[in-house]
């Protein structure tokens, strides 16, 4: 469904991605793991069209999407929940969700999707008229994911959804991701919480300094790689 071929992306003068290749199949839950600064978020924003790769190609359902604008990519059904959630703080919860459905505004479909989001996140229903900025961190994360789901994305990308949340909420978020996966949503997950991620994913890629270092099923990765080092964050870049 999604295929990255030798993607190079720069942040100004800094080369953040130095040839990333990865793929996600329909219905798969794939994690992109690694320490801070490994290029995980850069990979996601490159797919979403926020950063333009200067080399390489990104294929989504066999069409090249590299160099397209974020809005065009969103219309194809790719949805990113960015790091820090990026909900609209001055908009109400309802308005946040309504904008999430920008590409699917048809009335019956809208109310069906809204119903499903409420079923996943009942708390949002009680907060409909509240500005997004007044929600707690966990609620904001739910709103950010709910907003993404309003577009019924073909590919959902989550950037560090557990970051900054209390342990109980972290459990909830991972449970939720597993649940979405069981429902058939294709997910590309970026996480620093390696252990928890490996419990729920089909496959994972390990990134370091802008490159994919290794990949495989959780089992393969656990036996092959120095997971412990990445998990603890003790291994410096470049190894």
């Amino acid at each position: 469904m999604l295929e990255l071929k030798d993607i190079h992306t720069r942040y100004g003068a800094i080369t953040a991605l130095r040839g990333v290749s990865l793929s996600v199949s329909q219905g798969e839950l794939v994690a992109l793991l690694g320490v801070n600064g490994a290029g995980k978020s850069t990979t996601l924003v490159s797919i979403a069209g926020v950063l333009r790769p200067w080399k390489g190609d990104i294929l989504f359902e066999d069409r090249s999407i590299a160099g397209r604008s974020p809005e065009q990519i969103a219309r194809l059904g790719i949805s990113l929940v960015p790091e820090g959630r990026a909900i609209f703080p001055s908009l109400t919860v309802e308005e946040n969700l309504r904008l999430g459905a920008f590409t699917r505004r048809e009335k019956t479909e809208y109310s069906r999707n809204l119903g499903e989001v409420f079923e996943l996140f009942p708390v949002l229903k009680d907060r409909m008229q509240q500005p997004g900025g007044t929600l707690s961190g966990g609620e904001q994360q739910q709103l950010a994911i709910g907003r993404a789901l309003m577009s019924r994305p073909r590919l959902l990308m989550l950037d560090e959804p557990s970051l900054g949340l209390a342990p109980a909420l972290v459990d909830q978020i991972f449970e939720l991701i597993a649940r979405l996966h069981r429902r058939g949503v294709t997910i590309l997950l970026v996480e620093q919480n390696v252990e928890r991620s490996l419990e729920i994913v089909d496959r994972a890629y390990l990134m370091n300094t802008g490159l994919i270092e290794s990949q495989g099923t959780p089992q393969q990765l656990r036996t092959q790689t120095d997971i412990e080092g990445i998990y603890m964050g003790v291994r410096g870049p470049g190894k």
């Binding site: 609209f88 703080p89 001055s90 908009l91 904008l99 920008f102 590409t103």
Partner: protein
């Protein structure tokens, strides 16, 4: 001295300034661009009034609508040909572009029309007054208040009830995220420039109603008013723009009454001293925005 007449006149001035400030801040909120060509949109509206009332057989209301449309389309056109090409470059590039557009439009007016002031014929109603509770109030002021009320209602409905309006507010919060939800950047920005142009067009009618003339540089004073009002109210919020407009008008009017006659000509100096004091204590203006600082890149 602070009687009903004073209050209505101040409210009228405040309404005018609020519309002015809104037109400037709606673009700033999304692009972080202070559009220095905003004043020239008012000039375009003014010259449209001059040209059409001077020579045409059109009814006055139609002329007014055409003036507003002229300002709106000029605004859209400058966005398309001047701002859009440099949008991805840098904020400085856009700012310089806005100076260039301003100079270009002013010089076009100088060349095509005249450097001299032109008289604009306004309908009778702008010269007459109405009695409200025993006080004589110029119709012009009543119309200004009613128009700005109508615009505030329309703008609120647009921004709160329509998807496009919600997208505009979202873009002011986080433009990149708005685009990642599928909202086209160009649609949002064009809408903001269109609203800005409509505000400038409306203001041109009431601004010119106060002096009955139009000159190539007529846009400079309202631009300054709009800028100062948004700085007072807070550059990041539409509510702030409205509040700033009214505060500016209230301060100018109060100074006009309170200052001794000898100091009246320094009214603006006192005004700006006030603004500096406000900024010293409330650097973000009266209405703060909760959102982070972010710009289209």
């Amino acid at each position: 001295m602070i009687n009903l007449e004073f209050i209505i006149n101040t409210l009228s001035l405040g309404s005018l300034y609020a519309m002015l400030a809104l037109g400037l801040v709606i673009v700033y909120g999304i692009l972080r661009l202070v559009n220095f060509a905003y004043g020239e949109l008012i000039m375009i509206g003014g010259y449209t009034l001059f040209l059409l009332t001077g020579f045409g057989p059109l009814p006055w209301l139609a002329v007014a609508v055409l003036a507003i449309l002229a300002a709106m389309f000029t605004s859209l056109f400058t966005e398309l040909v001047a701002f859009r090409p440099v949008r991805e470059k840098s904020l400085t590039a856009m700012l310089i572009t806005s100076f260039a557009v301003s100079a270009l439009l002013q010089n076009a007016a100088l060349l095509i029309i005249s450097p001299r002031a032109r008289a604009v014929t306004l309908p009778e109603i702008f010269q007459t007054s109405v009695m409200i509770a025993g006080t004589s109030v110029p119709w012009r002021n009543v119309l200004t208040i009613l128009t700005s009320l109508l615009m505030l209602v329309l703008l609120t409905v647009l921004l709160k009830r329509t998807v496009l309006g919600i997208a505009l507010r979202a873009a002011a919060d986080n433009f990149t995220m708005t685009r990642m939800l599928g909202v086209p950047a160009n649609t949002v920005i064009s809408t903001a420039f269109a609203i800005s142009g409509i505000m400038a067009g409306l203001v041109s009618i009431f601004w010119i109603a106060r002096s009955s003339i139009v000159t190539p540089t007529i846009g400079a004073p309202p631009l300054l008013v709009a800028f100062v009002a948004t700085v007072i109210g807070g550059m990041r919020s539409l509510t702030g723009a409205v509040v700033g407009g009214f505060v500016y008008a209230a301060m100018i009017s109060l100074l006009g009454v309170l200052l001794p006659p000898g100091l009246l000509e320094f009214r603006e100096a006192f005004m700006f001293a006030f603004v500096i004091i406000i900024l010293l204590f409330l650097p973000q203006g009266l209405i703060r925005s909760k959102t982070s600082v972010e710009r289209v890149g």
